[in-house]
Symmetry: C2
């Protein structure tokens, strides 16, 4: 019988708030079943780029990763944020292992084509090395991934953290019952953006079409939900979009207050 | 019978020279027996501190690690340098795993007492977790350590890379025949600092005393050699101080051109 594996992604807003992050890590550390953490980057990289006088270029609201920016991202994501998260998990009794997609050759990506838009050193996931991640889980470590991958030829690449969480969940579904949690500062997907309590408890593909047509699902949420449906189609058992603070209580009560993305 | 394990430390001068570093990594990747790489930091951290306007304070030629400097060190050592080294090793066919002492709880340190001199967030190695490193070696990964440790309570600490290489070699000697290589830009310990070819091929404790009395062994070299002798006393089979470029040819020919530190 397959064991459960919980893949939890925390977003930038949690990373940017040391108190919230600590609380979250304390909760995450209590999860007893096999688990993987994937973290985003937050605003630190932008702050540091500014201090170093490296101009950040945005196209359609997305960051262009030139070589200076890639250096900053490698430093901030894989160094500063990742190691501090691992240190906190360790203090909470978890033997965590900080990883980028380069480590243990775990996530191979392809540099995004420069046409029509050149986003620089941005990579789209090509292959998750399930065998490597399995080995790490089997020896009892808790993998903590930052959102950096590589092309297998020595080049680091900047990759979206949601996509990484999705790709890992999908790949690991071969050996585990995978559950994917997108944890952020809101309670879930909201029916009315101005009402924090208007959480939609479940979204099926049919609901999704209606919600998009009604304009209730926003630009930033669309790739997240698309991602979630694609994960479910590829074998992930369930995807939750939820408030970081509610992750552990959800585990205890088996009652998920966020939004469940479900095929039916 | 114990297997061999090669622990190689590369210094800052190699890190600062991308061509030399690439050549070295190509060579290192060809070593077939179990191996561990430990890398120093080079000048990049100082350059970045300068760009960010963070003043570096030195006492007796040693860097004081205040909290801003610790952030930079975490970024540069564990992020930028470590991940680029791992990516290159991966491109050369090694499944490398970038680690700090925080990861897999591998190196625990104690913050250095602030009296008589407060060096800030500097840690002295307290315990190397041989069990964790063993597990990583057993599943076939090549550990690549940067010089960051932790106190087990969530605090990262800056630790000397030579000391880390030494402490790992000593701890791993329980299960392996450990060989420790300090690779840097010179051919070995020189009898005459102005003559690059005056390499002392072997130093025993007796030789060492004489060389120190004659003033032939310099300030920076003393802790390195002290370290080497302490490693040998604790079971490490041999310690070499050598030019990075000669590591692999030495492996092939079993003839070490650098300085061998030996008990007799």
């Amino acid at each position: 019988m397959k064991r459960n594996l919980h893949i939890v992604k925390i977003g930038g807003n949690i990373i940017d708030n040391p108190e919230k992050l600590s609380g979250f890590l304390k909760d995450f550390s209590k999860i007893k079943e096999p688990k993987i953490l994937v973290h985003g980057g937050g605003k630190i990289a932008t702050d540091i780029a500014e201090k170093m006088g490296i101009k950040q270029k945005m196209i359609d609201g997305r960051r262009v990763t030139d070589s200076d920016t890639l250096r900053i991202i490698s430093m901030v994501y894989a160094g500063l944020i990742n190691k501090n998260i691992v240190a906190e998990l360790s203090a909470n009794g978890n033997s965590a292992l900080g990883l980028s997609g380069v480590d243990a050759d775990s996530i191979l990506a392809t540099r995004r084509p420069t046409n029509p838009i050149d986003f620089g050193f941005v990579g789209d996931v090509h292959k998750v090395n399930g065998e490597s991640i399995n080995k790490i889980l089997d020896i009892g470590f808790v993998p903590v991934f930052c959102a950096i991958t590589h092309d297998g030829k020595g080049q680091l690449l900047n990759t979206n953290a949601d996509t990484i969480a999705n790709a890992i969940s999908t790949e690991m579904s071969e050996n585990y019952n995978c559950f994917l949690y997108y944890c952020f500062e809101k309670k879930g997907v909201l029916e009315n953006i101005e009402d924090d309590n208007s959480v939609i408890s479940k979204i099926t593909p049919n609901d999704y079409e209606t919600l998009k047509q009604e304009g209730k699902i926003f630009q930033g949420m669309i790739p997240k939900i698309d991602n979630a449906f694609s994960a479910i189609k590829k074998g992930v058992k369930a995807v939750y979009i939820m408030r970081a603070e509610e992750l552990y209580s959800s585990f205890l009560t088996k009652k998920y207050n966020g939004t469940k993305i479900s095929e039916y």
